[in-house]
Symmetry: C2
Subunit: 301 residues, 2 copies
């Protein structure tokens, strides 16, 4: 997986501080997560081919997470998009987008499909043969979901250096990938382990923004390779974090530790801060493998 | 008047090509005209103090003219704005904005006043003691208005170098500004022209975007100091201009000529063009005092 942070700042966009949006590349399939104002410009900056985005996930209906969506949908149309686009987000998102398209006497020349979310429990919202995407119910001022991207265990890989591979007909390769032993016409067996290698490890990524500290997400995200957890505030503003249903960096670290996450990325910083090193300082005691998000950061894992 | 072009490109925003938005400064009063996505970032680039914007004019409900409005309204709130904000635009704009604020369980801690426009005739939408703003009904695919900003003839100015000014009591200055002669207790008259200077000339600005070629606007904008007229297309695409209800540069020049405008600014360029000098080439024959808009251009007049 390859994660590109397009924007990781809260509330209002500034010249060099974009609001929430991320692009997750899972084996060449692109998933856009949140879409603050200006996301389409950020996508252009990073040379993303728009037509490759087929699924967009919106956490909640606060502007800094979705005000760029209607513009992106319009731009897709103007660029002549034909392939369908799926939008996953809270109930209401369809009404907001279609109201604006209707007033513009506009339309999409591609299939625009809304998957409106209402459940307060984790649910699978996307699945193909390689990946499952589930919601992570979060605790914020409005109905909010994070999203868990979890690869399925893949097929075993043909070991092209295996000496005995020469005896196996290519038509049997798919069976090898599925873990079967090879048996020739005379009944001789070559065990699968002699012919194949283990599949790539299944990776997982959890996006949790916006939310207050909430341990109920721990079983859902347990053991993820990468956790993005909002940390809008520092410890000195714990009371504001509680009141506005946001988290501090220290709280994000606790969630990372309790969920046994392998790595933590902090983001969604309040515009009041300028020295971001304090976010790391307040985190390290509870969780060492932590990094700050910044607009343009790329993490491959 | 001082006009700052924040964005002058049509359809979709690009890294260095912002969609429609302009800031007009009339004696220190700021008027925002259209508000494409990213306008708040453009305003920050030009160091505009947000609280000074009290009136926003939206020409029509195509995304490249208003997708940045809801974000700007939200940012005003987050920055603690208290002074009222007036939005002038087509019917529907209130529904679009308030729907989004409602889903966000948001509110404005300042007074947000919508002035929804429905008339197909020119009407005065704003007036104070120095300025009148009227709509310019345009001919586009959806209900659209341009806006005419017209200064009123100001007061005469006290001539501080006038020798006879020493004989006049300060309490009479307001009467001098209104054009009255001074008469002292003995009945001696000092004529107004000896004591005052002519008022600053009243300036006017017409914003016309988006529209197809339409001579019915000529009496409304007649004699303006500055005309911004959309020129989405070049002559080779006249047919597309007609079909999409846009104008060519040559058509914009004809309107400028017929309306006796003093100066023409071309803008709202289609993303298909890269060499903008052709827009000037196709205009000069009909109207010489023409300039291209570009993002960041400032025109004082």
């Amino acid at each position: 997986m390859k994660l590109t942070i397009l924007g990781c700042h809260s509330a209002t966009p500034k010249i060099d501080a974009h609001t929430s949006s991320q692009l997750l590349d899972v084996n060449g399939n692109l998933f856009l997560i949140d879409c603050g104002e200006n996301t389409q410009i950020q996508l252009r900056k990073f040379g993303v081919k728009f037509s490759r985005i087929k699924n967009i996930f919106i956490s909640h209906l606060h502007g800094d997470h979705f005000y760029g969506l209607v513009g992106l949908i319009s731009t897709f149309r103007l660029l002549g998009r034909e392939s369908e686009l799926n939008i996953y987000g809270p109930k209401g998102i369809k009404e907001i987008i279609t109201l604006q398209l209707n007033y513009a006497k506009s339309w999409t020349n591609y299939n625009l499909i809304f998957h409106e979310l209402t459940s307060s429990k984790s649910e699978v919202v996307f699945e193909n043969n390689k990946l499952v995407i589930s919601t992570i119910p979060l605790n914020h001022r409005v109905y909010t979901n994070g999203f868990l991207f979890k690869e399925k265990i893949g097929l075993r890989k043909i070991n092209l250096n295996a000496p005995n591979l020469a005896f196996v007909d290519r038509s049997f390769y798919q069976n090898l990938k599925l873990g079967k032993d090879y048996v020739d016409e005379d009944g001789n067996v070559i065990s699968n382990s002699e012919l194949t290698l283990s599949p790539n490890p299944a990776k997982s990524y959890a996006y949790c923004s916006d939310t207050q500290y909430d341990e109920s997400i721990i079983p859902i995200i347990h053991g993820v390779d990468l956790l993005y957890h909002e940390s809008t505030f520092l410890e000195e503003h714990t009371e504001i974090a509680f009141r506005t249903k946001h988290s501090t960096a220290k709280q994000a670290a606790k969630i990372a530790k309790l969920s046994n996450s392998k790595k933590l990325i902090l983001g969604h910083f309040s515009t009041r801060y300028h020295d971001f090193s304090k976010f790391i300082d307040e985190t390290k005691k509870d969780f060492r493998n932590v990094e700050l998000a910044y607009d343009g950061k790329i993490i491959e894992f």
